[in-house]
């Protein structure tokens, strides 16, 4: 089995939003970036993985075991955007609260991570900075020999230095090829650095899931004078936007070949892919 996480045809409906046949997998030994605009379904998917919500249908398996089997959580480390520890706990209380539950909890490793992350055992959770809180969750997630790390917006609100440290920790974690990371974030520059795969979710549907480079090579940023474009050309541009100095948008590599030569095509970033997809979605609303 080459995938550490597999999601097949996941459906979950709320009034006004639904996840529709969400399917993707995280291969062992890699970091999967999970991207999409706000409200696209990233957190709903992650909540389904962790059993926080009950999907209407679909299958989720971790290391070949269904998530209904709570034992599998021995192998999952979770870092969320906000800490889920009691504010008035001391850092050391996190150890006494969590350690009895995990069959492979390593107290020495936890102490080592606290030292490495400069976390004072006697400080209260509420006294920690946002970056330190993320590091505390990470220390706990890495101290029970987790093989899958699930990160939901851990870097939002972190300064560039703290984000860079986190990227280093993830790169180190993934050196063991039996492990995998699902990393949901808005800060796509982090993913451009370390992710091998990208799953792009939009409006509850998976738009793309595969190698990051393939996604980045599939689209181009297109700019120029809109006069040069025919109606057919405009239709092929995703998130077409006209402004005072011309137009911009995103286009698939296949369609770009048919554009007039006086229109410029450039490499696109993950951020821009999300922005143009979002714009296109709004155009069709």
């Amino acid at each position: 089995m080459n995938n550490i996480l597999e999601i097949k045809n996941l459906n979950k409906s709320y009034s006004g939003f639904s996840l529709q046949n969400v399917s993707f997998s995280v291969p062992k030994g890699y970091i999967m970036g999970f991207i999409g605009p706000n409200g696209a379904g990233k957190t709903t998917t992650i909540k389904s993985i962790l059993g926080m919500i009950t999907p209407d249908s679909g299958d989720i398996s971790i290391m070949g075991t269904t998530v209904d089997c709570y034992d599998i959580k021995n192998h999952i480390g979770v870092v969320m955007d906000l800490p889920f520890y009691v504010d008035d706990w001391k850092v050391n209380d996190v150890h006494s609260a969590l350690s009895p539950f995990y069959s492979r909890w390593d107290s020495a490793a936890f102490t080592d991570y606290l030292r490495k992350f400069n976390l004072d055992k006697n400080k209260k959770v509420k006294e920690l900075s946002r970056g330190m809180k993320v590091k505390l969750m990470l220390a706990a997630a890495l101290s029970h020999e987790a093989r899958l790390l699930v990160l939901d917006e851990p870097t939002s609100g972190l300064d560039p230095v703290a984000r860079d440290e986190l990227m280093d920790i993830l790169s180190e974690f993934i050196m063991d090829e039996d492990r995998g990371v699902l990393f949901s974030t808005h800060i796509t520059s982090d993913l451009e650095k370390i992710a091998d795969y990208i799953t792009f979710i939009f409006d509850g549907r998976i738009e793309f899931s595969g190698e990051k480079d393939r996604l980045l090579e599939s689209y181009l940023l297109v700019k120029g004078d809109p006069v040069a474009l025919s109606a057919e050309h405009k239709k092929s541009i995703i998130g077409f936007r006209k402004h005072a100095t011309g137009f911009d948008g995103m286009i698939t590599v296949d369609h770009a070949a048919h554009l007039p030569t006086d229109v410029s095509c450039e490499k696109i970033s993950l951020d821009e892919i999300i922005i143009y997809m979002n714009k296109e979605g709004k155009l069709h609303e």
């Binding site: 926080m52 520890y85 009895p100």
Partner: protein, 223 residues
């Protein structure tokens, strides 16, 4: 260690920051003062059990504030373990407070020269049974709605029980009510073992139904 027991331990860790020795000593002093001045330990025991009932709701209150249900979802435990663990925590808390209340009563009444061990034990037992029954009504409400939405509803038993007693006494009339009570007490005294057995069975049933309801509500609850 069993998963539910581990969870009960987690509940104690959850409320630990709010169980300061200073606060507990202040409360104990106030309760002891009331008990000593009235010359009757029952009031003190009742107040201490009321205090325990407040603490039973603390894991829900602290959990609501800190999003601790998310933590439970990351741990290798089932929702059933969470519910059973919370009931174990509640019962242990009541037993600990009951034991403290008994010791405090013994110390207090011995200084006044009127300590009756058997009677005090019965009062503690009755209070534990009564307050755990009230908690058995509260817990499913907390599991269904969470602390913030449930806190007002959870106090209904404290209003409903006295209200029912007042209504029954109004219906029967004061003299009739006293006659009924006297007859019930004499029946209890004549059949103490059977009464204790029936009370234990009823208490067990209440706890069982409460636990099943809590599990049903919590299983469906999305976090």
């Amino acid at each position: 260690m069993n998963r539910a027991l581990k969870f009960a331990k987690l509940d104690f860790t959850t409320i630990k920051p709010y169980l300061s020795l200073k606060n507990m000593l202040i409360f104990l002093f106030v309760f002891a003062f009331i008990g000593y001045s009235s010359g009757n330990p029952s009031t003190m025991i009742g107040m201490m059990m009321m205090y325990a009932t407040l603490y039973v709701s603390y894991p829900f209150a602290v959990g609501d504030k800190n999003g601790i249900d998310t933590l439970y979802c990351t741990l290798p435990i089932s929702k059933k373990d969470v519910v059973i663990g919370r009931y174990i925590f509640s019962l242990l808390l009541n037993l600990i407070v009951g034991a403290i209340a008994f010791i405090a009563s013994a110390l207090l009444m011995t200084t006044r020269g009127g300590f009756n061990g058997q009677e005090t034990f019965m009062v503690v037992l009755l209070c534990v049974a009564l307050f755990t029954t009230v908690q058995a009504i509260q817990l499913p409400i907390y599991f269904k709605l969470g602390y913030a939405k449930a806190k007002l509803l959870a106090y209904i038993p404290f209003i409903a029980f006295p209200a029912i007693i007042v209504m029954i006494s109004a219906y029967l009339g004061e003299k009739n009510m006293m006659r009924y009570l006297e007859s019930i007490f004499s029946q209890i005294q004549a059949n103490i073992f059977i009464t204790a057995l029936i009370a234990a069975v009823i208490w067990g049933l209440v706890m069982g139904v409460s636990g099943m309801l809590s599990y049903r509500f919590y299983r469906k609850r999305e976090i």
